[in-house]
């Protein structure tokens, strides 16, 4: 009970930075859509290239598919949190910068109510925004130019509460209800000239919106091999936000301000499918995710979005049988993953793509019921053709899955 209390306090401790100012992603592409959307996986999935739609939440939580919670061990209370450090280099045809950022990637608690029903709640970033972009404009009706500088910040935070039930012994269904909140801020600085006044137009969206997604998982055994199939689905959803547009003059005094509710932030229909194959101490996972961005329009985009496709494959192995007397590394789980995404951003003929390779390890803590999952992902995103930018990054993710025998302990107390 004491431990549980400690964890709860830590919990609150960890929430506080989430509620503060969101981190800079420093990606010019985050000007489009709701920002740069973060993939949802936790430690173990991240080590497999973000794959795992078909995998069950056994010793750790799998947030990629809400149906996965039904697979939790009945006596476990799982607490997960992850820290992420990212080193990046962003370059375009004439300049390049490097940087580092770190933040809390997620935290979540999973629990089983009954042998056939389990749930999880937690918090994680949904999207992040951070950009600084110049645009040359013309005064309509003249040949005079002026420059707008767009500076974006903020991000959407997701609080979710997911529940899964076993419909049949091998078929489970999950429903994930999320509450999305947080600010998306764009400041447009207009550089003054003889014909244009210096001014700043600030556009803020304060999101307060529910978001729903669903999942199915089905397991079957063939010989000594376990197979699993997973499906996830989220319908197209409009996020409601309080939109505040304020125009400031060069002295930063308000000229005009408007505030109204809007639902222009739309998350397209998302469909995911995965296959999992487990044999002895090895697992393989293949995922495909489709996001129908071509149906979605944002005011800032000049060109149509493209549908995005993401493929990922992950491999997990325990090369040695777990034994208490083993040297540490022999009890580790080793993971590897790869992902390729053709994103929804298309500029002229260039569709932005990303590729990433991950290596990871799961290190057991406290007699194999808790884990620390470490992964290192290297990847690229974007292209340096034209005015575009390319990001190269290295992400270190450290995730903790702390399994408490909470219900059992209470009896002993």
């Amino acid at each position: 009970m004491n431990r549980f209390l400690t964890i709860s306090i830590l919990f609150l401790f960890l929430i506080s930075p989430f509620c503060g100012k969101a981190q800079n992603t420093v990606s010019p592409y985050s000007i489009f859509g709701p920002g740069e959307i973060r993939n949802g996986g936790f430690g173990a999935n991240l080590g497999m290239g973000g794959s795992g739609i078909a995998l069950e939440s056994t010793n750790s939580l799998n947030a990629l598919n809400p149906a996965s919670y039904a697979g939790m061990d009945s006596l476990k209370l799982i607490f997960e949190f992850g820290l992420q450090g990212k080193g990046y280099n962003i370059s375009n045809s004439n300049q390049s910068i490097s940087g580092f950022e770190a933040n809390l990637a997620y935290f979540a608690l999973g629990f089983k109510y009954t042998p056939w029903m389990a749930g999880s709640f937690g918090m994680m970033p949904f999207s992040t925004v951070g950009y600084s972009i110049n645009r040359t404009n013309y005064i309509e009706g003249t040949n005079e130019q002026y420059i707008s500088q767009y500076v974006g910040s903020g991000g959407i935070t997701r609080f979710y509460f997911a529940n899964a039930i076993k419909l049949l012994k091998k078929l489970s269904l999950g429903v994930n209800t999320s509450y999305l909140f947080g600010p998306l801020i764009q400041e447009e600085y207009i550089t003054g000239s003889t014909m244009v006044p210096s001014m700043m137009i600030e556009r803020k969206d304060f999101l307060r919106s529910f978001y729903f997604d669903f999942g199915l998982q089905y397991q079957f055994i063939s010989g000594r091999t376990d197979y699993s199939l997973g499906l996830t689905y989220a319908p197209e959803q409009s996020l409601s936000s309080k939109h505040i547009v304020t125009a400031y003059d060069s002295d930063y005094s308000t000229i005009q301000a408007q505030q109204y509710k809007t639902e222009y932030l739309v998350i397209p229909q998302i469909f995911g499918a995965g296959i999992g194959v487990t044999r002895e101490r090895m697992s393989l996972a293949f995922d495909y995710t489709f996001q129908q961005w071509s149906n979605v329009d944002y005011p800032i985009q000049a060109e149509e979005f493209a549908d995005s496709h993401r493929f990922s494959a992950g491999f997990e192995v325990n090369p040695w049988e777990r034994r208490a007397i083993n040297p540490g590394y022999k009890n580790w789980t080793y993971r590897m993953g790869f992902s390729h995404e053709s994103s929804y951003l298309k500029f002229g003929n260039t569709t932005l793509g990303s590729n990433a390779l991950t290596l990871g390890a799961g290190i057991p803590l406290y007699g194999a019921i808790s884990n620390m999952d470490i992964s290192l992902t290297g990847g690229t995103y974007g292209s340096t053709s034209g005015h575009l930018t390319k990001e190269k990054y290295l992400i270190l993710n450290i995730g903790f899955s702390l399994n408490e025998m909470a219900f059992l302990k209470r009896v002993i107390d």
Partner: protein, 441 residues
Amino acid sequence: MKKKAFIALVGWLFLLSCHDEESLMVSLGDNYINSQTNVALIDTIQVLLSTVKIDSVPTSESDYLLSGSYTDTDLGKISATGYAQIGMPSADIDDDEIFDSIVICMNYSGMAYGDTLLPQTIKVHRVREDIEPSDEYDEEPYLYNTTKFKYDETPLGSTTVVPKPNFHDTIAIRLNDELGLEFLSYLRDEDDELETLSEFLEYFQGVALVPGDENNSILSFDADSSFQIKVYTHIIEEVKKNLTYTFNYESTSQNHFNNVTNDVSGMPLEQLTTQKEAVSSNLLDKRAYLLGSLGYTTRIDFPGITQILEVEYKNILYNAELVLKPLAGTYKNQGELPEELLLYYTDKRNNVLSELTDDDGYSIPSVLYYDEFYNESTQYIFDITNFIYNELSDGYVDPEDGLLVMLPDTEYGGTLNNVVFDARTLSNYRPTLNLYYVFYE
């Protein structure tokens, strides 16, 4: 347990300490971002010009005395008669002094209107009424361009010259000797001596500078101490001694003004009879007039101004400028165009209301762009942002509110500075209201 807390704490600190603020300023290419802000120039609101004639223009505050007449093709025959009072010197005149001559001297102000290459006649007449504002104008004790006073039919003197206001400083006109003798007799220490200025002004009310019939220009003289009558005498004592007595105009106490009239019979401007009516440029050959001292001013109307209220997008109207062009051919050089013009609010009766000023109450003079080479883009630009703001401030725009283009005070009542505005709609010009908007979403 301690270990766990330690890990979490380290993680949390890590989060706080590592945050890179540097960002890459990029241009993604202007085609990819749909600007949600548009700065636009909208110049489709119609600008109508008409001509108004102010009933009476105060001319007694001016620094100039005008005299002459000329015929303008549009404005008719313009005649100006300057009136001025003259003060008295304090003099001790010997009984033996012998009168020689009496002369009126005037300084050219440097300005002239009409054709100064031809001979001009100026006749100096003695005024026979007190040059004073009439009682009905008590509140504004001015003398106006329409004011008249009786003067003797026979001039005290006259001259016909080819004036060279830019080469000569002064003009001197010899007056009737009888006046000189009279002046001397009234200054002598006798029973009928005039001792005070008011006594003198009762006796000699002033002079009127009346143009001759055949004049081709109006000349402008300084209304200051250089405007004077001089009486020359001599006395023979041991040697001959010449003496001069100067009868000065003193601006602090004396009155002067210009009576200015024009005759437009049979001309388009004949339509203009009272200030209440404005004659559209459509009836004046697509022209609108401005002329100092006679009260011609150009009225500006924006019949479509209510459109401003109908703009659907969020917008900031940050600048409004009015562009008017003087009609090419109506001026020969930049000097013939007023350097600055001002705007006044007006109502449907063409009353001159308050001046259009900036937020601090300062004048916003127009800017004249003079196209020395082609004359094509010579134009006046007026900042009328505050006018538009005022019109919009109560959410209602009165299309009967207009603006009057006026000369600055110093030119309004003492000069014949003028502009003929071009009111045509051409492919590259029309009187234009430029509205600069920031539209944003």
